[in-house]
């Protein structure tokens, strides 16, 4: 099997195809500290792409509550259980990836969910990691009792397991932007992709009887516009753009800055070996660091410390780039923080957004003598 380099695990690994990176790789950073699980992203995706017959159960975008929530049921627990205990050595993963752990005659390790596994998309919602007894109802950081929201879409992996598993190459990765697509004309419904995508983001359409997956709103991306789930985000948690490999990281690229420069954004389950391209800023309030390390790899403590420092008033650049998230529909390719403002520029270098680091505030007296009314406090 060919060897490819996966920077997220710090080593070469087996993959069924030769490593060939796209010209650029579409990617996103989700700040879990800001997600409120309003599911606006979920509904934006649902109404855009999966409102047809046979797609009822499909959520190309879903938001689940960790630690107990999951869609489909226990997808992460089941994949990690299949893989078994594995080890990191610093930033190098010494365990087996899903490709290296593939059973004889298979491309990758995986399982095919039952229909009932898709029946509880809100299971575990807002449940804390442990029962809330009275003595634990106090606030300090990190929390003993905690939960957080994990919004999930297809990761448009550099080394997709769905693509690797398709016996007839009906799944392909676009060279121009790395978006992973499933050819609706070519699919013959073997469901190998559904089985081997560990994130379970390929779905079988009950009516058309072929499989489907997130298309990352490629018609929008081609026009320099962000995908629907990103630009409708109420909590403004999503930064969309393009990620480079660490050696080519550009400090003025918002995604590169968060992933490679400040290293606050981490991949989901990097140990699986897919080099997933949706990155997460881990929640700063979660007491169980080992749980976060299991989900996001060894960079968790550094990411949490860096993020906290910024939120306490330091690191203007980091605060600036995070303020640009969902502040424009356009894809921000370059950013700059200067004299209290964060600026975002499109691919042609034109300014598409300008956000103040601190919103101007005005204090008005409670009574307005001109209109002879008392004002409500509004922000």
């Amino acid at each position: 099997m060919p060897k490819v380099y996966n920077w997220q695990i710090g080593r070469e690994m087996d993959y069924p195809f030769e490593g060939r990176r796209p010209q650029r790789q579409a990617a996103a950073v989700f700040d879990t500290n800001k997600c409120i699980a309003c599911q606006t992203c979920t509904m934006a995706c649902k109404t855009t792409w999966t409102s047809g017959k046979g797609q009822e159960y499909m959520f190309w975008n879903n938001v689940e509550t960790k630690p107990w929530g999951s869609y489909p049921l226990a997808w992460d627990v089941r994949v990690l259980e299949l893989l078994g205990p594995q080890a990191w050595e610093g930033n190098v993963y010494r365990g087996k990836t899903l490709f290296e752990a593939a059973p004889s005659g298979e491309r990758a390790l995986g399982y095919l969910p039952e229909d009932l596994d898709y029946a509880y998309p809100n299971r575990g919602e807002d449940e804390t990691n442990l029962p809330l007894t009275q003595e634990r109802f106090y606030l300090r950081l990190p929390h003993d009792a905690w939960f957080f929201y994990l919004p999930r879409i297809c990761n448009h992996c550099t080394y997709p397991a769905c693509l690797a598993s398709c016996p007839r190459t009906a799944i392909y990765k676009r060279p121009e932007d790395g978006i992973v697509l499933l050819d609706q004309q070519r699919c013959r419904a073997y469901r190998e992709c559904v089985k081997n995508c560990p994130f379970k983001k390929v779905f079988y359409n009950h009516t058309t009887r072929v499989s489907e997956k997130c298309v990352l709103c490629f018609p929008a991306v081609e026009r320099g516009v962000q995908p629907r789930c990103m630009r409708t985000c109420i909590g403004k948690i999503r930064t969309f753009g393009f990620v480079s490999t660490p050696d080519r990281a550009r400090a003025d690229n918002p995604v590169d800055f968060l992933v490679h420069v400040r290293k606050v954004a981490l991949p989901l389950l990097p140990q699986l070996g897919l080099e997933a391209n949706v990155y997460y800023i881990p929640p700063v309030h979660v007491g169980n660091v080992r749980f976060l390390q299991m989900l996001f790899g060894p960079g968790v403590e550094h990411a949490v410390a860096t993020y906290r420092k910024a939120m306490e008033g330091g690191d203007e650049e980091l605060r600036g780039v995070l303020l640009l998230a969902v502040s424009t529909d356009r894809i921000v390719h370059r950013f700059r923080v200067h004299r209290g403002y964060a600026y975002g520029y499109d691919e042609r270098g034109e300014e598409v957004v300008r956000v103040p680091l601190r919103e101007p505030t005005m204090v008005r007296p409670a009574y307005d003598p001109q209109h002879r009314v008392y004002r409500y406090n509004v922000t």
Binding site: E56, P167, H206
Partner: protein
């Protein structure tokens, strides 16, 4: 002239095409090369698997092996043997394929539902171990694929969502506002099909209106299977007493460029495959025979 593939050649083919050592459960000693004589019958080749005419043809009981050449493998065959008969009437050739199956699996609506099926692969005489793996670009393989799910669609109407999920609830399906439980295909005018991507894109698997349970395909190597433009193969399967009896029939003369043309008196290469839905068989996960010989009576 047909060249028989020796067992050694077949094993060499297996080894060359992906496995250095044959997994033990693919028991080559059980594998047999089909030797099928297509008997000429004055009456048309019957579509009914239980028709008396089939008794004219000699039954060949052929050992099945797993598939360990193209990923994903099927290490153990789902069923040990398949019984094959063949008839031709100078216009059409038919195969009666029988195998044991304690439970018929027709439906492919749910994620984990896989259908029963069987296949006949036809190649020119002289095809060897390389062509056995779904043909080559130079020597395309013609494949007849009988599908239990398509037959159910034909006999009982298109098996839509409600067939597997009778209590499904929904408000409406865009753009069909106000249409209660829209049924495919009639409730879906052309402009509404965008919401059914596979159908809209023209995927033959997604077409709700079936005309035959036997798909006629061409393959030029593993993973290249494509439906041929002229779908003129037909057939019928009957499951009774724990056994599938399936007829697959096609015109002798090719209708499409890459399709094989057969002629009375001719000799060809042939292999058979069985998919057992209950075992999760689909695509390359199939039980297969070695490549053998098909001779048509003059």
């Amino acid at each position: 002239m047909t060249r028989k593939i020796s067992r050694r050649e077949a094993l060499a083919g297996l080894a060359a095409l992906g496995t250095l050592a044959l997994p033990a459960p693919v028991r080559a000693q059980d594998a047999q090369q089909p030797e099928v004589l297509s008997v000429r019958t004055p009456s048309p080749v019957p579509l009914d698997p239980e028709a008396e005419t089939w008794r004219r043809a000699r039954a060949a009981e052929i050992g099945l092996i797993g598939q360990a050449m193209a990923y994903p493998f099927k290490i153990r065959p789902s069923v040990p043997t398949v019984r094959v008969r063949s008839l031709h009437d100078g216009e059409h050739i038919g195969f009666l394929v029988e195998w044991r199956d304690p439970r018929p699996d027709h439906r492919t609506v749910k994620t984990r539902e896989f259908k029963d099926g069987c296949g006949v692969m036809l190649l020119p005489a002289g095809a060897g171990a390389t062509e056995w793996m779904m043909g080559t670009p130079k020597t395309p393989a013609t494949v007849l694929h009988w599908r239990a799910d398509w037959q159910l669609d034909l006999e009982a109407g298109f098996q839509d969502l409600e067939a597997a999920f009778p209590n499904v609830a929904f408000d409406f399906y865009p753009p069909l506002v106000g249409v209660d439980r829209p049924k495919l295909p009639d409730a879906y005018p052309a402009d509404a099909r965008k919401w059914l991507p596979g159908w809209y894109a023209g995927n033959p698997l997604s077409q709700p209106r079936k005309t035959t349970p036997v798909e006629k395909l061409v393959a030029q190597g593993a993973g290249t299977l494509e439906q041929l433009p002229t779908q003129n193969a037909t057939g019928r399967g009957v499951w009774k007493d724990g056994r599938w009896r399936v007829v697959l029939r096609k015109p002798l003369r090719a209708a499409d460029a890459k399709e094989i043309s057969l002629a009375p008196g001719g000799t060809y290469a042939v292999a058979f495959a069985v998919w057992q839905g209950a075992h999760g068989d689909r695509g390359a996960r199939k039980s297969i025979t070695l490549l053998g010989r098909l001779r048509l009576e003059a």
